[in-house]
Symmetry: C2
Subunit: 494 residues, 2 copies
């Protein structure tokens, strides 16, 4: 039976994926520094095994034959998702993948060397090579999938996302934010004039912050019997659904960046921990995509963790762990701080989407051939000035060299971040209707109802639906930026 062959393949790929996930998390948290070379070799060999097994030619026949077999509804959906994965994995010839991997890895290495010095001229030739191959990749994927070239790239990260639907949404959001950011900053300035920011005490021992983080993780639903919290240089959520590894890093002079980071990664972890166990070895059993994943992390960080009602409950918990008493207004002044900046990863929720929209626009132009890599510094600077009033023309390390995504050839990924923020806000609107006292629940430290809602609508769905269909089924309407702009207006407006 062909379905059985796919099912067996799923178990083998799950085992290799399990090893790669744990080895990856271990590398960032517990590996001895001298273990890197052998680890990289082992992981690339295992990844090669997984890729060869997942792209074997006979799988096409199994998928075809399984379509004719007497399967239940779940199995049918599983076959469809096997097919989607298989096409995405096999639509590029292997000699192209090898060429692209070499080019990408050389460009990443060069990026690490040239970025600290802002050496755009040294970086550019490698980036040009990556862009050229990204155009070829987009064309090849486009041919196989029957999608526009940029859509074919996005399809890897968020199945069903289309430029035609996203571009106008982003256009409206941009128009809103270009006005809203200065307003929000003006309002913040007036508030601060009346109530100056109370500085953090600067004495937050790591062990106490860790205990606070664990308490908050558990409170918002993280299952500590199926996951853990460690330290790494770059925070991440990794591991496997039965053993989710989240990490943070601590500063002893403040506690909010680590705490908010922990809540963010906890959002990713909740999605992973609550995926349907019985589908774990099928592609169908995975989280839907990057935008939906980001919506879950942002939901916990922004809709829960930066919600004033949450702090009714959280302030005594903070006091208990850190020995410091704050009023709600005092802490919210920190939690809702807005500031124009050059660096995406440091941005607050008001300015962040402008960083993403800038990249979304430039990426489309790059892939379409309307923009060349060599013209990026000027194009970036022009948009940066228009959207955030800042210039990067003399500091390319804060401009087109700031992220690893382009050297890594991950074109089509950036939109997921802001789509995630919009989906999170849209979920919040739906939840406010379905659970009218949700804020009162948060103020009491109760997150069960909101988690039950998300479990039913999002987590248990895994990859059953495309990203747009999942949004619509979960929230009752297609992606609508109005929920996000309303959220920003309520939190940061007059």
């Amino acid at each position: 039976m062909s379905f059985q062959k796919l099912d067996d393949l799923g178990h083998r790929l799950e085992a290799l994926g399990h090893a790669l996930a744990i080895l990856g998390a271990d590398e960032a948290t517990h590996m001895a520094p001298g273990g890197g070379e052998a680890r990289a070799e082992a992981m690339s060999t295992l990844a090669g095994m997984a890729h060869r097994q997942a792209t074997a030619p006979e799988i096409a026949d199994w998928i075809e034959a399984a379509g004719q077999e007497d399967l239940n509804a779940d199995q049918k959906t599983a076959v469809a998702e096997f097919r989607r994965h298989y096409i995405n994995l096999t639509c590029l010839p292997s000699d192209f993948v090898e060429r692209q991997t070499r080019t990408r890895m050389r460009c990443e290495q060069l990026w690490r060397e040239t970025r600290p010095k802002g050496d755009w001229a040294g970086f550019l030739p490698a980036l040009e090579g990556v862009v050229e191959l990204a155009r070829e990749e987009a064309a090849r994927r486009s041919d196989v999938l029957g999608l526009g070239p940029y859509d074919a790239l996005m399809e890897q990260f968020d199945p069903g996302n289309r430029t035609a639907e996203i571009a106008p949404v982003f256009e409206n959001l941009k128009a809103f934010l270009v006005d809203f950011v200065p307003n929000a900053l003006e309002i913040q300035k007036k508030k601060r004039a009346k109530n100056p920011l109370r500085p953090l005490s600067g004495n937050y021992p790591v062990e106490r912050q860790r205990e606070l983080g664990l308490t908050m993780m558990a409170a918002v639903g993280f299952d500590l019997t199926r996951g853990s919290l460690s330290v790494s240089h770059h925070p991440f959520c990794g591991g496997v659904p039965t053993d989710v590894r989240i990490t943070t890093r601590y500063r002893t002079d403040e506690f909010l960046s680590s705490l908010m980071g922990i809540l963010h990664e906890t959002g990713h972890a909740l999605y992973e921990q609550n995926l349907p166990h019985e589908w774990a070895h099928w592609p169908l059993g995975r989280a839907r995509g990057m935008a939906m994943h980001e919506s879950q992390s942002l939901f916990v960080e922004k809709q829960i963790g930066r919600n004033p009602a949450f702090w009714e409950w959280a302030l005594p918990v903070v006091e208990q762990h850190l020995g410091e008493k704050w009023s709600k207004d005092e802490i919210l002044a920190h939690v809702h701080h807005v500031e124009r900046g050059l660096i995406r990863v440091d941005a607050d929720e008001v300015t962040y989407p402008l960083h993403v929209i800038l990249r979304f626009e430039l990426e489309q132009d790059l892939i379409a051939g309307r923009l060349e890599a060599r013209d990026l510094p000027e194009a970036w600077d022009e948009k940066m000035k228009a959207y955030l009033g800042l210039s990067t023309i003399d500091t390319p390390q804060d401009g087109p060299m700031q992220d690893v995504h382009w050297p890594s050839a991950a074109f089509g990924y950036f939109p997921s971040y802001t789509l995630g923020a919009m989906i999170a806000a849209q979920q919040w609107s739906a939840i406010e209707k379905d659970i009218p006292d949700v804020n009162e629940q948060f103020a009491r430290g109760q997150f069960e109802a909101v988690n039950a809602w998300r479990h039913e609508k999002i987590w248990s769905q895994a990859s059953r639906l495309s990203t747009p269909d999942l949004i619509e089924q979960a929230t009752g309407e297609p992606l609508n930026a109005a929920h996000f702009t309303r959220h920003l207006e309520q939190r940061y407006g007059a």
Copy 2:
């Protein structure tokens, strides 16, 4: 070229072995408790992949053809060791392996249930099944290897070890110890009458013990950039040569058991860290076998860590970390404590070999069919009374149920422990000749010369020689129990 195929296979098996080693260490140290089921499934799937790849029929042809190719000396030795591994892996039919695996796993589970209650009757039928299959395994291996049945089992753990050579050595050692143990106890009693044992203070915080352990590990040669120390329920040395994971467990009422355990595992780790890097992906590049591995751990624990000269240097280090001042005699009274006991893993270096010899004798009788599993409690009790003057007839949990080795079908493994102790003593004798001031060096905390000796004679040899040949090449003579008995007489005699 066939050698290249073996070389490539070696890289694939190394990658899978790397994953299994790190996943195994991670499971015991950092895995979330709920992650066990998925981890077990992933590891057994990966182990199956590794086994299938390592036993593929075409490998026999590659080995045959590689033998005809123009290879350098290392490559020729590598092919011979590939052949040895391949024969050991393939000499059992896979349906037999499956039957044995099921029987063994059921017996291990049953052992875990019945041992705490001492329920021999409940355990016996499962053990009988394991013994029956162990006899069949021995006969099958014997046919392929042309060795006696018990030798064919030992061959898996220590290539070249033969009962004909070991049995008389053990016989002499037993005769020596049966007299020596009561003498050593009498001497200890007299010493204690004059100088009563100074009790440990019972206040040893874990973090300080850990720092002490790390300091000692580094001092005796552990490379902390290529390994680490964690906590686990059962101490072990795992991981990979570039990232060796050793573990311990701490009691706050005393520090010596953890410290000696750390030194023991450090001995294993030194062997792994110093294997030839360029052979890492060949069977040839692995440590020689269990007896040689145990000799390296026992060397660090007993020849270094329980050596009076070592404590000249170690006492101020202990004082610095634990804030407690000891005289050398006071600490050595603890470090050299001798006591007759029922449990092998709790035994000191004087009584330990008798536990092993007892099992070695019973195992040979079991495999030869001269003894049945049902008669084990009486046979065990008889030897226990004769060798250590203790009875286990009413407590089978302290007798034939005490170790996991038999339920796991690991017959032929026990001798390695005492062979390791003898090899460690024999190495020490050779080192005393080659480095006459070795004790003075230890007293100054200098371990470089002794490590250089072991690097040249043992570690860098990896699996080039059989166990007996490696012993002879390293120490200048075949296995000779006189070094071990002399060691015991010097340390525990009059």
